[in-house]
Symmetry: C2
Subunit: 315 residues, 2 copies
């Protein structure tokens, strides 16, 4: 066993399981079991940022920037492409379908107390837009094709990622992992954390954060070696982006990196594989009409996944 | 001028204004102006956690734990008590009234395409609970008694806090400030921050965070000296709590500290003034019926504020 995978094991051993871990594990296994018989692909979409607690009874934490826009939008388009979706998301981040009304639905409701029973309806100007969203949501729900699982901390996320990857392994190349969550690179190990809230009276605060072991390595090597695995690179510096994506592919041996720059990520990404690099751009006109780049990304990835399945089944 | 208030001025000078600062300032001033003529009290409720960026083009930040539960609930009860409410909240945290449906409204909607136009209604089992919430919300909206203003970073929050406090000053003792936001004690000054995302390849991360100057001091002394100001203390260690509340009152000369412990904050708080300390407890039975401790806290604070106004007007 390599040193790197030992580090990962150490991390899991030192990090507490998430709340209701057994319940979540059970619902993931049941979901995968239900879709085993069919031919449809199954994708794990991870979304939102992880927290890194600075105190063991946590008041402060380090967070990664992500409201879950990319993950929640992508989950919808995966459903449109016929995937069953496990949506592993940061608690209270944006959810597929819900995201369209999460912030302001009350502003679009009307109460009528005219009849014998009060009635609340969605205002007509909002109805037109909401009907197709709601229908896609109800369709996914009724077919049992969407499973929501939440996490908060880095530790919760990694425990659930390992469990879900292992659960997907029997599906072999039919499984896709779309790792869009913004996962912290640094953490404070449990044994180096103060128990109580850090007191500001003690003056300036020195924090020493350790590197989180690279979990993509055991994920590809051990947890789910036959799946189609996609990771993300978000940088603010465009010049190092594709170079870093290629380096990651060499290092972890997964299939695709979706490379994007913070400022332009809603209009342009590059899909990097070991042999190709394909820019995907959302035309300005489509953006103004409310189209989203995630639709284009998922169409393309779904094609690549389908080619990958065919190649895997032949060999 | 004391050293402390110089620190505060330095902070504001070094920290960029929030996006759309002029628009937000304008809406706050218009709101206060509108309520100047009436006799009703006006409260600023702050809610949610502030972020502290670790990079100037921010990917990572330190966050304070708070979903905005206390602030958003309190805002509703202030409206019930006849207050006009400025709700200064963390972007995407819980909002008054909205909080009751923010996470799962789609699960309670039904589409009917039977008539000529499609219709979306709230399911009947959810309607009973939602009607009074929606009516209180629409009432507050129609009377122009609720203003929502959002922030994300510590710097945004403090700029908006100063502006709102100054705008409230003409209302004298009729203004209340209820500072429930979870504000970072530490930050990385703009001139000590890296521009691009910190690279994990460089190994373990050493962060050096500086103390944020205590803004409660200029707030009480200069920005809004006649208002009824309430701060919060959240600790995980019960033993130091009331002691710390008293120390804060002596130091900043405001009126009340709401002291609470992380684990029990939904069932018990202590209202600490310079002369009294009064525990407020939510009976177990009321909690199971869905009552909230914020209702009791706001009733009591509203009484104290009313006494304070009478005393101020006499003198």
């Amino acid at each position: 066993m390599s040193t790197a995978s030992l580090d990962c094991d150490d991390f899991f051993e030192a990090t507490a399981l998430p709340e209701n871990f057994q319940g979540k594990k059970q619902s993931i296994e049941t979901f995968v079991e239900r879709h085993k018989g069919s031919k449809q692909p199954v994708v794990l979409v991870t979304s939102g940022g992880t927290t890194v607690p600075l105190e063991s009874r946590t008041v402060r934490f380090i967070d990664n920037f992500s409201s879950g826009t990319r993950g929640s939008a992508s989950a919808e388009y995966f459903l449109d492409q016929g995937y069953a979706v496990i949506f592993l998301h940061r608690h209270r981040s944006l959810l597929p379908f819900h995201r369209h009304v999460q912030s302001n639905i009350l502003d679009h409701l009307t109460v009528s107390t005219a009849g014998s029973d009060p009635l609340i309806t969605v205002q007509s100007d909002k109805t037109e837009k909401l009907v197709p969203i709601l229908q896609r949501y109800l369709d996914a729900q009724s077919k049992g094709r969407l499973l929501l699982v939440s996490f908060t901390s880095l530790g919760d996320y990694l425990h659930l990622l390992r469990e879900t990857s292992r659960a997907l392994q029997p599906l072999k190349s039919r499984a896709m992992l779309y790792l869009a969550a913004a996962v912290s690179d640094f953490h404070i190990p449990a044994n180096m954390m103060p128990e109580h809230k850090i007191q500001s009276a003690n003056g300036p605060l020195q924090l020493s954060l350790q590197l989180v072991p690279k979990m993509l390595r055991p994920l590809v090597k051990d947890w789910t070696p036959d799946a189609f695995v996609i990771s993300f690179k978000l940088e603010t510096d465009k010049d190092i982006l594709v170079w870093k994506a290629r380096k990651a592919l060499e290092q972890y041996q997964h299939k695709v990196v979706v490379a994007n720059v913070l400022d332009t990520r809603k209009m342009e990404v590059t899909l990097v594989t070991s042999e190709t690099q394909e820019p995907i751009r959302l035309p300005e006109k489509d953006a103004t009409e409310g189209k989203e780049i995630e639709e284009l990304i998922i169409q393309k990835l779904s094609e690549l996944h389908s080619q990958f399945r065919k190649a895997s089944e032949k060999s």
